[in-house]
């Protein structure tokens, strides 16, 4: 149920984000999804890629600081109220969400969101009980 996400530290300067993409593209790595979190002074680029280990090595060799984080990929019914139901389960289970972001593409009728939970094991138990669809890495990458 755990998907590996890469985080890359970026200074807030033109070209730095582009360089990450260039480095990955040159290595033939396709980005499944990404999001950029920013503060006033720096950003953290979060990426989901299939070959995450290779991507980490490649990015580090190119001089970036990279971290890996365990996140979950959750199926959400792509209709009004879909997300609300998930978040209700999260709230009822007393889970703490660090951040989340959605995927550009869907799986059949479902949207996909990536969530980082404070306590990933507890999240899995709570969501399983609530009948929320979570994708394993195998299912996720297809």
């Amino acid at each position: 149920m755990i998907i590996k996400q890469l985080s890359v530290f970026l200074e807030n300067r033109p070209g730095h984000l582009g360089r990450v993409c260039e480095v990955l593209a040159r290595d033939g790595i396709n980005i499944e999804t990404m999001t950029l979190a920013d503060s006033r002074e720096f950003g953290i680029l979060r990426l989901i890629v299939r070959e995450w280990n290779q991507a980490k090595v490649t990015l580090e060799a190119a001089g970036f600081t990279v971290n890996t984080t365990d996140v979950m990929a959750i199926e959400v019914a792509d209709e009004p109220g879909g997300l609300e139901r998930i978040l209700k389960a999260v709230e009822n289970g007393g889970l703490s969400v660090e951040y989340m972001y959605a995927f550009a593409c869907k799986r059949q009728a479902n949207a996909l969101i990536v969530i980082r939970f404070d306590d990933v094991e507890r999240a899995r138990a709570v969501l399983q009980k609530a009948g929320v669809g979570m994708l394993s890495a195998v299912e996720f990458y297809g």
């Binding site: 530290f9 970026l10 002074e41 953290i44 979060r46 001089g63 970036f64 600081t65 971290n67």
Partner: protein, 441 residues
């Protein structure tokens, strides 16, 4: 650990009275030599109505005029030489940060003394014939490389004259050549530590156990970092081109101050502003008079290094006295919003925050007539969590640490790894972009 005394180290243990007598004899000889051979020195003595015979005790040295770096610049290249050029068998030069280099010379006897002093320095750190030394100080005009080399060879160590730079080759040498000791600048060794770790090698696998680092000031915190990360013992060595090069002073195994080779160098501590001689234990500017140099003697040279004389006897048994670790050069001091700040304080503050690797730079600028300071710190794997809040908390901790030590709120900017230029030699810690031009120190 020194297991026995090396015969050449005998003067380190001279009985006090004997040492002072030797110093006085040598001081008189040096003053006469300079008076006879160095025009600038003679004219200054004559201005004061002084002559060599007025120096009758060690205290009389305080009557003599100071010499400064500017004197070397003004007499460039050979104006201060006390030997004819044909007797000068070696020249060295140090790059001045502004203007012309400083040129120094050595006779055969000077080279003999120099290599003996460096030998004594290595011996004090516990090294001996049989050690394999990787000399990563720069070979060439810089006194560090050749200075360390001849001392090491004299001691009988197996010397690898690898010079600075080419980190991959440095690591290869550490791995393959049975290196037991290394010498280079502390900032370059920090760089090597990272490269070793990045290449997946552990320092446990390497045979290096001693490091002799110098040519730039470095803090106790930096020593702690180096020793923790590499497992080696890191010793401070002190020297300066204008005096001889490396071999003016050295830490012994106690690692509690630098023993100055008093049989060859007379030291005083003076108030940097008034030039008044200060008693032992007071911090001030180190002033050195060479006692045996022939080609390039120096009388009361103002080193611009801030330190104090430690009068207590060292546990190692040496009677040659110690000075405290050089905290900074007087001219390193920055005045920001009326507060005196030294780069070493910033360094100590940054290293006190767990996980910080000492790649930092201080940027000075002027905006609206006011001095601005910003500290750049590189973000490493260890420091980088996945959350903005973690990075912001880290930034806050770094700022708090700096404020705690300096009393100043200083902005800290986190930057990407390797964005601060690495040095093979002295690290450029301060980039000063204020109106008097850019000078990197």
């Amino acid at each position: 650990m020194e297991t026995h005394r090396h015969p050449e180290s005998r003067p380190d243990y001279l009985e006090f009275g004997e040492l002072r007598e030797l110093q006085l004899q040598r001081l008189k000889a040096t003053v006469s030599r300079c008076y006879g051979k160095v025009a600038l020195f003679r004219s200054r003595l004559e201005e004061r109505g002084l002559a060599p015979e007025h120096v009758r005790s060690l205290d009389d040295v305080a009557q003599l005029p100071f010499m400064q770096k500017t004197d070397l610049r003004d007499t460039y290249p050979y104006g201060l030489f006390a030997s004819p050029l044909r007797d000068v068998v070696r020249l060295h030069a140090s790059s001045g940060t502004t203007g012309k280099p400083i040129v120094v010379g050595y006779t055969r006897d000077d080279l003999d003394v120099w290599s003996s002093l460096v030998l004594r320095a290595f011996v004090a750190t516990g090294l001996h014939a049989g050690d394999v030394l990787q000399n990563a100080y720069g070979y060439g005009l810089f006194t560090g490389g050749l200075g360390a080399h001849y001392g090491a060879e004299r001691l009988g160590m197996t010397v690898l004259p690898i010079s600075g730079g080419n980190s991959e080759r440095q690591i290869l040498a550490l791995k393959d050549f049975g290196v037991t000791a290394i010498c280079c600048t502390p900032s370059y060794f920090v760089h090597l530590i990272e490269r070793v770790q990045a290449s997946g090698i552990s320092f446990q696998e390497l045979s290096v156990r001693t490091g002799v680092f110098g040519a730039e000031p470095w803090t106790e915190a930096m020593r702690g970092y180096i020793e923790r990360e590499s497992g080696i013992k890191a010793y401070d060595i002190y020297g300066l081109t204008e005096i001889i090069g490396p071999g003016v002073g050295i830490e012994c195994s106690e690692q509690a101050g630098l023993h100055i080779f008093e049989d060859h160098f007379l030291m005083e501590i003076v108030d940097p502003n008034t030039g008044e001689v200060l008693p032992d234990g007071h911090e001030g500017e180190l002033v050195i008079t060479t006692l045996t140099k022939q080609a390039f003697p120096m009388i009361r040279y103002r080193t611009h290094d801030l330190t104090s004389i430690l009068p207590e006897r060292c546990a190692c048994g040496r009677t040659i006295r110690r000075i405290s670790r050089i905290r900074s050069r007087c001219d390193d001091m920055m005045i920001i919003r009326g507060v005196n700040v030294f780069p070493s304080q910033i360094e100590a503050a940054l290293l006190s925050v767990k996980g910080t690797v000492p790649h930092y730079q201080i940027l000075l600028s002027r905006k609206g007539g006011l001095d601005q300071i910003e500290v750049l710190v590189e973000v490493t794997q260890e420091m980088f969590g996945d959350r903005i809040s973690e990075l912001e908390a880290l930034q806050a901790r770094l700022m708090q640490a700096i404020e705690h030590i300096t009393g100043l709120r200083v902005p800290v900017r986190l930057v990407e790894p390797n964005s601060i230029a690495r040095s093979e030699g002295k690290a450029k810690r301060v980039i000063d972009k204020r109106s008097d031009g850019e000078t990197a120190r």
